[in-house]
């Protein structure tokens, strides 16, 4: 079943069309990567799903229920982690989570138990100071805790790793992978390595439209023709190789790129190298990456 469905959603700010006839759905228990350049409309889309902003046309369903702007009944199925989560900074994490639990009418025992569980998950159990003194990473972790408090069916994370250092990023990604069994995650970012690491399905938003929406395997299989990169020590060697092996393109003086059309192409290449006694620094089969896909779409 699809937990989230967008059908023909459009939104403009003045004359500027931010998103245009956007349609996609997110199946249950997946980590759905929502990628795009800065300003592509990712945050706007998310805020429309949350009923924080109004769409000009189209419809949105969360867990089968329609989303109405301003009236946020569907938000009870959603946990939201903004890119820079802001809290009441005079409160401690425990007080803040209690407030969140009480406004959603959780029972006292259940809330206590859930708070302990979540503070453990995000590693804030022993932190008892006001949120005022928190680092960005700590705020992001508290953000995840508050988003997961009500066991949401859909967790929406808006660029949760963009502002963090490598350690903070790894921590957040690990938490997201850990909670995949519990919930469905819609995860927006422009950091493609994060997407490749944790996402099952990926949609690329470009010029307000979905450029593609596929699983990671599908994306990789689209590019069957992989490439082989060879780096030589000397320019002469590179030139000689290019003469002997026709299917090459130069990248620079010492680097060549060969299209791999058949599986044994690599053997032929190595054979040419040995025959001509050419030493190389590196020989690498380039996997089609999300980045090449991304660049192809963006640079069209």
């Amino acid at each position: 079943m699809d937990i989230l469905t967008l059908a023909q959603v459009s939104k403009s700010f003045g004359n500027h069309k931010v998103i245009e006839n956007l349609s996609f759905s997110v199946p249950e228990h997946t980590i759905f990567g929502f990628i795009g350049q800065n300003g592509a409309g990712k945050t706007t889309t998310m805020k429309i799903i949350l009923g924080l902003q109004k769409c000009d046309s189209g419809s949105i369903f969360v867990n089968g229920k329609p989303v109405h702007f301003g009236q946020n009944q569907t938000n009870k199925y959603i946990g939201y982690l903004p890119d820079v989560p802001e809290f009441y900074d005079f409160m401690t994490p425990l007080e803040y989570l209690k407030l969140c639990g009480n406004i959603t009418e959780m029972s006292k025992d259940k809330l206590q138990q859930r708070i302990q569980q979540l503070l453990e998950l995000v590693g804030l159990t022993s932190v008892n100071k006001p949120i005022r003194g928190f680092s960005r990473g700590m705020k992001q972790r508290l953000g995840i805790a508050q988003a997961l408090l009500n066991h949401p069916k859909l967790l929406i994370c808006d660029e949760p790793t963009s502002a963090l250092d490598p350690i903070g990023r790894k921590e957040i990604l690990d938490i997201l992978v850990n909670i995949k069994q519990e919930t469905t995650i819609l995860f927006s970012t422009h950091i493609l390595s994060d997407v490749e690491r944790i996402c099952d399905r990926i949609a690329l938003l470009h010029n307000g439209k979905i450029a593609f929406c596929k699983s990671l395997e599908e994306i990789k299989s689209l590019h069957k023709n992989t490439q082989i990169e060879i780096e030589f020590f000397r320019t002469e060697d590179a030139n000689l190789f290019a003469k002997k092996y026709k299917k090459t393109q130069p990248i620079n003086n010492t680097k060549l790129l060969c299209e791999q059309q058949q599986e044994n192409d690599i053997v032929t290449i190595m054979d040419v190298l040995v025959q001509n006694n050419l030493s190389i620094q590196r020989l690498e089969i380039l996997e089609p990456s999300l980045e090449t896909m991304f660049m192809e779409v963006i640079c069209k």
């Binding site: 805020k47 949350l50 924080l52 902003q53 109004k54 702007f69 301003g70 009236q71 946020n72 009944q73 938000n75 009870k76 959603i78 939201y80 903004p82 820079v84 989560p85 802001e86 809290f87 009441y88 005079f90 409160m91 007080e95 407030l99 969140c100 009480n102 406004i103 959603t104 009418e105 953000g143 508050q146 408090l149 009500n150």
Partner: protein
């Protein structure tokens, strides 16, 4: 009710931890003490000045002070206290827009009207506490030094002023639902007040206006009749309900960025 209670608790905690409750309480206590203190000091001040006054031809004979002198001070000082109060509480909604702290709360599914009502109730409660604290302090001293019986309609005139304060707060909340920044909220609220103030120059509509309630101190001398204020009270209550009602409708439809 639980969500409203939880949000009210958060609002009160914020007033305490940000020090605003303490500042306002000290301020209103000081104002409460200052009114009788100034009255008490008046004869002494006059004596100090009597020499220079006599040089200009003014001769002081007898200085009569009583509870009325102190209550006159009360109504002279309370506008300043009200202004400071409004300045300190005016950002209660706009600061949440600026910081983005409402996003987590709204996306949790808390109905927006509950946020609006909780905030309004807390500020109403704060004004109630501070205003009557100031009033009772002045009342206590006045009773100790002089006699409060000299002032007629004492509680009614204070109630009128209190109600005008409540109306002001509701106006700030309506503007906070409409506008994004605190300075614009204050500016437009001030403009609305001025509009009412200028309108009160026309005697036909004066008796209906909330600003008329600010002149309730005329009642103390016994010159005016309570019934002269009844239209203003009814109209202010009506405006109060409209401010809150329209405020909720607008806040419900607001885009939160």
């Amino acid at each position: 009710m639980k969500p409203i209670a939880a949000f009210i608790k958060k609002e009160i905690l914020e007033l305490i931890r940000t020090g605003r409750l303490l500042i306002l309480t000290i301020l209103f206590i000081l104002f409460g003490i200052m009114n009788p203190a100034i009255a008490k000091l008046t004869p002494w001040l006059m004596k100090m000045m009597s020499e220079s006054l006599s040089e200009t031809g003014l001769i002081l004979t007898e200085i009569n002070i009583n509870a009325m002198t102190s209550w006159t001070q009360f109504y002279k000082n309370i506008p300043i206290a009200l202004l400071i109060f409004l300045l300190l509480v005016s950002s209660t909604l706009t600061s949440e827009y600026q910081k983005g702290t409402l996003i987590n709360i709204i996306t949790k599914g808390l109905a927006r009207w509950k946020i609006f009502i909780s905030k309004t109730l807390v500020i109403f409660l704060l004004w109630t506490i501070e205003f009557w604290l100031c009033f009772w302090i002045t009342y206590g001293y006045n009773n100790y030094f002089w006699d409060n019986k000299i002032a007629s309609h004492l509680f009614f005139s204070a109630f009128c002023y209190y109600l005008a304060g409540i109306w002001f707060i509701s106006l700030l909340f309506l503007m906070s639902a409409l506008f994004q920044t605190n300075s614009i909220v204050l500016l437009i609220s001030g403009a609305v007040f001025l509009l009412f103030y200028f309108a009160s120059f026309f005697s036909d509509i004066k008796k209906y206006l909330p600003v008329t309630l600010l002149n309730s101190s005329y009642l103390l001398a016994g010159n005016n009749n309570i019934s002269e204020y009844s239209f203003a009270i009814i109209f202010t209550l009506l405006l109060l309900i409209i401010n809150i009602g329209v405020g909720i409708i607008i806040f419900n439809k607001r885009e939160i960025k």
